[in-house]
Structures are given as structure tokens and as C-alpha cells.
Symmetry: C3
């Protein structure tokens, strides 16, 4: 089957999920992002690469944080950015998703950044648009959030260099997490030999071992000698549901405390996609501690998004 993310020359045309991306392209994104980290440290944090391009932040689901990172990345590339909170507009007037997209495309859009509550929405859009338009998935349902996955890989590479000697643990609500899915694909494609997921059974998908991960229900065993820990956000609505007994119980077993961190390697890094629930999935001592690279993740996230946008615009 044709890969909708690549053009006929095997170049990146859309970024929809890390699944299906060749390792070469993942590495090319990470390498390109290195140069943009330097741009952000300059006095004038702008490059003219996307001047005159029209980028639409098409958010069918509200996410100020993610929208802002793409908006900043696009502005640093000198693009014109239009923010559309679609939930509140045309959709309510009965227009179909693809009619909305066609309309914006007719305004000479060059790129769509799409956030949608339904898995597959950005694939649908990518398959529909004209060849010169590029789509970036900024999170679709439970499916994927590839730029988050990529910025996590960038962060791991910055601190650990060689992926092929690492043990990485992902902790928390893997079942509902598009971030976890993107990370597992990315770690696999980059050759990480041991990927662990740590969670209660109720927060793991049925087929999770088939994704190439080792399952742990005991956090202390799961963290043993790992090089990197990726915490997942526990969504409030899960805590009141049938899947978890209580926030208190969860924290006791899966809350990331300094005691538990002591079981990882002494130089292990701590990651979290944010926003954090302090005292629910992570202790402040860990979140703000010397091993935390949570804020560098945010900084690298801008550089990775600039890299993806500039690679797409150049293809």
C-alpha cells in the first residue's frame, strides 16, 4: 500500500504518524531541528524560509498549548499564520469537514496543522488535498501526535546520543494516549532495544505487546536501570471512571516519586508532555529535579516543528 506521508520520490509530503516513516526521514527531521535550536537562541529569532506561505492552524479540538507551539514555529519561519477554532464555526453550520478544508485550500493555503478529536481526521484531509498542500497531524483522537513523539526523540538524542543502547520506560495511561503510540513507533524505528510500558492493566491496550514493548504493572521493577522515563498525563476524567479506583491509589502505585526514580539509572532523564498534574502522576521533586528535562522538551518542540514545516515546504 502507498504511504500517504511520502511523495513519489520518497520525500515527506505530510506528517500524519510516525508509524510508516522510514528511519532516514525521522533522522533527517531531528538533524534539521538541531539547526533551528540555534535560531531560537539568536537575538532575532526568525528565518525567512516560509515567507509568504499561508499556514492554517485547524483546531477542531481546543488546545492552546499545542496551537501556540505551531504558531510560534510558523512565525519564526516568517510564515503567515491563521488560527481557526473550527469547533465553534462552520462545522456548527452543517458544513462537512472536507468542504471546510476545500474552502481554506481555495484561499491558497500551503499547510494545514490539524487537531481533531477523531482518529484518522488528518489522514482523511491529507488524502483529499491537492498535491502542493501539506498536512501535519497535531493530534487525532487516540491515534497519533507525531510532533510530540519526534520532540521526545530529539530530547532523548540530545541527552543520550545513541538510541541503540537505551532502555526507555513509558508510564501511565497508554490506553488513551496518542502520545504513547507515537513514541513507541519512534523508539522502534530509531532502534531502541528495550521499550517498556508501565501501567495498570485497565490503562493498557489489549494488543500492546505486539507493538514491540515489554509490559510492567509494577513501577519499581519497570523503572529498574532505565535511561529515560516518559510520563504520560493522567486525564482527570479517567480518575472518576471505572478504570481507576482513585487518584490516591493511582499515585501510590504509579505516581512518579523520587523514591521510585532512584530505581532508574542515576543519569536517567525524566520527560512529560505536559500539562502536568503535580501530585497525581508526578511528584514536584521529580518534575523540578535535576534529572527532569521537561522544559527543554518544550524548547526542542519548537525546533522540531520548525524542522517539519520547513522540510514539508521544501518537498
Amino acid at each position: 500500500m502507498e504511504n500517504p506521508q511520502l511523495n513519489q520520490h520518497g520525500e515527506l509530503r505530510h506528517l500524519l504518524s510516525i508509524e510508516g516513516l522510514p528511519a532516514g526521514i525521522v533522522r533527517h527531521i531531528l538533524d534539521t531541528a538541531e539547526s533551528f535550536v540555534a535560531v531560537a537562541e539568536r537575538e532575532v529569532k526568525k528565518v525567512p524560509l516560509l515567507r509568504g506561505k499561508a499556514i492554517f492552524n485547524l483546531f477542531f479540538e481546543n488546545s492552546t498549548r499545542t496551537r501556540t507551539t505551531f504558531e510560534i514555529a510558523a512565525k519564526r519561519l516568517s510564515a503567515d499564520v491563521v488560527n481557526l477554532n473550527i469547533g465553534a464555526s462552520s462545522q456548527s453550520k452543517g458544513e462537512t469537514l472536507l468542504d471546510t478544508v476545500d474552502n481554506l485550500a481555495a484561499m491558497q493555503a500551503d499547510m494545514f496543522i490539524v487537531r481533531h478529536g477523531q482518529s484518522g481526521a488528518s489522514h482523511l484531509i491529507a488524502r483529499h488535498v491537492a498535491p502542493h498542500i501539506h498536512v501535519i497531524n497535531a493530534g487525532d483522537g487516540r491515534h497519533a501526535h507525531p510532533t510530540q513523539g519526534l520532540l521526545d526523540m530529539f530530547t532523548i538524542r540530545r541527552y543520550k546520543q545513541d538510541f541503540t543502547r537505551l532502555r526507555v520506560a513509558i508510564v501511565g495511561d497508554v490506553l488513551h494516549s496518542r502520545v504513547a503510540r507515537s513514541e513507541i513507533h519512534a523508539l522502534n524505528v530509531l532502534g531502541v532495544p528495550e521499550i517498556r510500558v508501565i501501567a495498570p492493566k485497565t490503562l493498557l491496550p489489549a494488543e500492546v505487546e505486539q507493538m514491540g514493548v515489554h509490559v510492567y504493572h509494577d513501577m519499581i521493577k519497570g523503572l529498574k536501570d532505565v535511561d529515560a522515563v516518559i510520563m504520560l498525563r493522567l486525564q482527570n476524567e479517567r480518575m472518576r471512571g471505572a478504570l481507576l479506583p482513585s487518584a490516591h491509589e493511582y499515585y501510590k502505585y504509579y505516581g512518579f516519586t523520587k523514591d521510585k526514580l532512584a530505581h532508574a539509572k542515576p543519569d536517567a532523564i525524566v520527560m512529560h508532555p505536559g500539562p502536568m498534574n503535580r501530585g497525581i502522576e508526578i511528584e514536584s521533586g521529580v518534575a523540578d529535579g535535576g534529572q527532569s528535562v521537561i522544559l527543554p522538551q518544550v524548547t526542542f518542540g519548537i525546533a522540531v516543528r520548525m524542522a517539519v514545516m520547513s522540510i514539508l515546504a521544501g518537498s
Copy 2:
């Protein structure tokens, strides 16, 4: 009576409605728009004509789509755009419309794009502001939506060249449509010899023939040998009201199907201002068919808005 849209040299000062615009000015806008169609096809879709100008999108009524088209047009002209959703702010603090406008004018606004639920709101603002400030009506109540009317004229001219030999039909809820009003004025001023409106009696204004149109209640007769069909959007709230028996009944008589289209000239073009209600006022086969120019309308809409803004700023 003085025409508030023109300055003492007869140049365009505000665009409030097509009614009252001399044919020469309408043609000048359409001619200017031609050059901006080319800009949108360039690699860098920007011209510096309005650099350093402050344009305010003053939307008292929410319309993401219309606001976006003006925002893109202004950014392509290199203006600084500020989006104000006024419904949610000062108005609720008891400030009058003209105090809000005075305040924004004191921030050295150069242009206001005004959308308001009440007919005449942009006239009121245009009459109030200082001579160097320009106002564009982006839709006021049931009164007018002149840039929509102009982009439709641009579209017709692109496909049919000579207005003076055309038969044009406008179909649907003329009664509640500011778009229809603007179109009828535009078609008249450009010399279209036969303008038809097709609608049930309950969706036509009482005095409609006095606007220079022929009324048809039978869509098949009304479409006979026309060169262009302009569909109107049927607002959901009408369908549940006293004016229409049911959406199903409406579709049977006034829904635009391929069968009905067959009665128009073989090269007739199909237009719709969007957003479309597929299966309510228009069949997908027509909307997406070879005679549809609905998406080019959107593209031309940006060029027409760039033309209006640049002409106003230059006057």
C-alpha cells in the same frame, strides 16, 4: 443626497453596499482584483502595499469564514491585522458602538472591516469616523454583503466575459439574504439584461420585482437557458419555521439537482456563497460537478478583498 461611499473626487472611500456604486468603480475593483489573482499564485504570496497599516476585523457577529478571508487578504497586502470579537467584550461593559469605534480609531486604525447583526451598522460607523479611516461592510443584518456580491461578479466575468448578454438566476431564500441583495444590485449595475429570482413566495421580499428581477416559483422554468446560477444558503432555522413546510419538501422543489441543472444552458456555471448544506439546497453531484465554480469563488474572494482594501487605502 451625498453618497457616503465616495469622497469629493468620486473615489471609493468606504465599501458599504453595491447599491449606489457607479459602474466604473465596480469595474475598477474587478480589474484590480485580476492583478491580485496572480499574486496568490506566486511562491511568496505577498505585496507590500499596506505595510504598516492597521486593519481591524470588527466582528460583532461571529463568522470565522468571512473574517478569515479578510485576514488573509490583509496579510497578503502586508498590513497588520487585529481581530476583535466585539460581541464578547466592551459591548457587554455598556460601551456604545461609536465609543468602541472611537477608541479603536484613536489607536490609529486605518481600516475597519465590520460585521454586524443590524442593518446599517457599517453606514453608521462610516459616517462617524475621521476622513482618513476606511470602512468595509462585511455583512450587516439583512442589508448587504458587498464583497460577496463583487466576488460573484468577478467569477461571472472570468467565465462569461460579457455581462450584457447574460441570463442569471438567483435561487433560494432571497428574503433573508444580504448576499442576494448585493448581487441583484451588482448584476443591474453591470448591465445584465435578465436577472431571475427563484423561490417560494414565503422566501421572497414583497417588493422584489422593483429591484429589476423576474420572479419564478418553478425552478425548472426559472433555470431555462440561464448562463449562471447563484444558489443561496438555506439557514437551518428557516427550515423549522413557518416559512417552509419541511427540508424534504424544499429539496423536492428548490434543491439544485443535476436534473434541474440540465434545463440551464449546457455551459452554465453554478455558484454558492458557502457554507453549503449538501442535500438541502444543493445536490453533491452539482456542487462537485464540472459546472461548479464554487471553489474558484473562494479564491477570487481573496483577490477581490485585496483589491477593495488597496483601492481604499490609496484614495
Copy 3:
């Protein structure tokens, strides 16, 4: 105690309140603003001083008007502006204020413009951020709104030149007004010899005389021979509360009418921070009369905000 607004060289690092600002810095801001008034009158209203800087409008409390003035000021300085209405986003996801700030700082923010319902919020943020990040308080609870205070000083200086010979009256709800607090500090620091506050007892803070003001409950006596009158906005919610008998009663005693204005000096200027409640705290004849400088205040407000931003960015 260290002054969090100044760096070790005594330069402005943050603008949090006028209280604690040396007179030299206040005058430097006003002088710098003079040059920006000229920029706003140019054909191209832009200077490249903040090109490539990222300025975040961090509004935890909605205020379209104030946000717009900062957005325009930043755009005229060529900065990239990101508007964040935080009330509606991460905060609702359980993230703490400082985590939100840390995240935005990690996106390489250069400046935060902060509006918050709680007094002290911008101080908290200023104390927390890295040394290269600057914070401007755009209104925090009942505490301060320093750029409003500064623009009022700029306006007084423009019309009255020498502060050391003036009598200035502030009229209205001083108790709930952060603007009044900022103005009293500013007038004191600039050497105004006689500052009056005019209000019913219920709308005055207990310790108000200790701020260096003379209290009047009778508006006619209070306005006698003043050079400038600063009206305060009467918030609707006060009028229904226990603090005021009725809007009608209030207007009778404290509404600013032409009759009352006649008791001030013949060349006294009339100021109001907006939005005005016409017929509640001010008569239209006064608001729109020849002594009103309410709209010039708005114009000068942009210049003053440009001055503060450029001074901060240069420090």
C-alpha cells in the same frame, strides 16, 4: 528590600506597579513615548526595534481593549505577538500558573504582558522567570495597572507641561480601582503638589489619606480650581450592591456634568480610562466636549506601551 522592577544597574527590568519606580525612570518612559507618538503618525507605522522578539499576551482575565493596545504596540515594534486567553485553556487542565509560565518561557518568550484577577500575579511571575524575560503588569486584581497610570501622566504632561504646579482630582470608585492606585503613585512621584480624590465614603479605601491625597465627598468643592480631572469607571456590579444607593443617586452627586466641570479651571482637562458609562459617571456633554482628552489618552497609550516594551527589551 530589593526592587523586583529594577536590575542591578537600576534599569527597568519589569513594569509591575508605579509604586517603587524612581522618578527618573517614569520620566524616561514618558520621554521615550514622545518619539513613538511620531511613529504612529507616519505612513508606515512600524519600527524594527523588537523584530524577532516573542511577546505573549497572557490574559487570565478577559480584556479585549487592553489586550488590543498591547498587541498593536508590539506589532508597531515589529515583534511577534501571541495572544493567550489562559482562562479557557491549560488552567482548566489543572496546570499551575507557574507551570504555564515555565512552558511559555521554554518556547523562548522575551516578554509577558500579564492580566490577572488576583493582585500580585505579575509580581509572582516576574520573580519566577529567568533574567532575560520581562514582565509587564496589564492589571492585577485591585492592585495596579501601571501602563494606564503612565499614559495618564503622559497625557497630563502633554497638555499641562509642568507637574509641579498642578491640582489633579480623581473622581469615583477609588476603592475598587487599580487605575486610581497607579495614578496616585505616579502623580506623587512626578511631584504634583495637590492630589484630590472625590468619592462617597463607601467607595474609598480606609487608609486613602496616607497615600498623599486630599479627600472630598462633595464633588463641587473637590473640583474647585483643578487643572485635570480623572474620572474612574463605575462598574455595573457596584451599582446593585450595598455600596451605592442607586445609579440615579450616584449620578446626582458624582456624575460628571458640565455644571460641575464649570467649577474646575477653565482650561482643565477631562480624562477617563474607558470604557465609559455615559449618563452614569459622565455626561456626554463632558465626555465629548472641548476639554475632554479621553481619545488622545488612547492614542498616547499605544506610544507609552511601545516605550515600556522597547525600554525593557533594551535593558
